[in-house]
Amino acid sequence: MAKVKVPRKSTTVDMTAMTDVAFLLLTFFMLATKFKPDEPVIVDTPSSVSEIKLPESDIMLLTIDKRGRVFFGIDGQQTREALIQRMAERYKMTFTPQEVKEFSLQSSFGIPIAQMSQFLKMTNEEKGKADFSGIPIDSLNNELGDWIWQARLSNNNFRVAIKGDRDADMPTVKRVIAILQEKKVNRFNFITSLEKAN
């Protein structure tokens, strides 16, 4: 009986197709990725059953951390540029074009306007280490109100979102809400995370 000759097959596989798939997926993820804007503080949001999603753009974000500091953030570079110029006018300050440019790159900040120039000079590492005092919210020095008002003058389509920490104290939260009402913002969102199934 003649021996059946098993043809020796190469074990190597054509990788081209796999590369195609890999890069297709890579392209998808690269385009779909939107990097999280760096936040000055870590905030642990309360959970809720609400399933309303936050709109993608035109968000004015007020962050309240657990120590009761308030941070202000706004969408869009042009809006930020317009905003800082309005605020400079309001507080009789001047910012160099470079500072304005730098401000337009800040997603969120929490310092009194008097320290703004100093803040804009900081490098990212310094900002990471710095301990910000938050935006003043007391009635004598209501800078937050001015920020909100000037931002609304620059672009009136803003949706105000409050991102509070679970342990943020109520007087601060109430004060922020009162400022919003003073500035005729009677409709706003609370950012929450999805309730864990229990």
Binding site: T12, A22, L25, L26, F29, T33, E56, M170, E182
Partner: protein
């Protein structure tokens, strides 16, 4: 197939030097590795889900809520958000107008939720039909639009429970969000977040809370 010509430049046996035929095939394996590495990176950094939010409408400051619409005392429940994750609630006596005895409860399902559901059902019997509409919606018997109109009609029934939320200065933001969440869960259409008053702060003190 994908392979590397690793034979090197060995000498040929023959004396005549032949131009060696190099394979044009390249090994793609490292490229695939790199591709998948980057995919993994982007997959992990991508945040697909947008944050959840809760909408809240506050009354316009100028017209006071007390003047605008008189709330029937028998319909209203006042929740005082106290410290230590406790809620104190009371009803106002419809005849005398005096606040009733404060009851202490908490944010668990058996606490404030049970109370709200019970009280709302007493006043608004139609509340039971919301789950029926929900199942009809799931079975595609009614449209999303019809569902919303019906539910909001039931929620805003004129006899339905009205919840007045007053947060004390010693409560946390988490408490406020939790209680607004309960409004959603218990299908309460009419509620308001109002500032706490001095008699209520005193009332909290009588039950050893602040």
């Amino acid at each position: 197939m994908a392979e590397i010509d690793s034979s090197g430049g060995g000498k040929h046996k023959g004396g005549k030097k032949k131009g060696k035929k190099l394979s044009t095939r390249v090994d793609f394996t490292p490229m695939v590795d790199l591709g998948f590495l980057l995919i993994t990176f982007f997959m992990l950094t991508t945040s697909m889900n947008k944050p959840q939010t809760m909408e809240i409408n506050m009354p316009v400051k100028e017209d006071k809520i007390e003047d605008g619409s008189k709330v029937k005392a028998s319909q209203a429940i006042t929740l005082l958000l106290a410290n230590d994750n406790k809620i104190v609630y009371y009803f106002v006596d419809p005849t005398t107008g005096a606040p009733g005895t404060p009851q202490i409860t908490n944010y668990s399902a058996g606490g404030i939720r049970a109370t709200l559901l019970k009280e709302n059902k007493l006043r608004n019997s139609r509340i039971d039909s919301i789950p029926i509409y929900k199942s009809m919606l799931n079975n595609h018997k009614i449209t999303e639009e019809e569902y919303k109109t019906n539910v909001s009609d039931i929620k805003n029934d004129k006899n339905a429970l009205i919840v007045v939320i007053k947060a004390s200065d010693h409560s946390k933001y988490n408490n406020l969000v939790d209680i607004l969440d309960e409004m959603l869960i218990c299908n309460i259409g009419r509620y308001a977040v109002v500032d706490i008053t001095q008699p209520e702060i005193d009332m909290l003190k009588t039950v050893n809370l602040e």
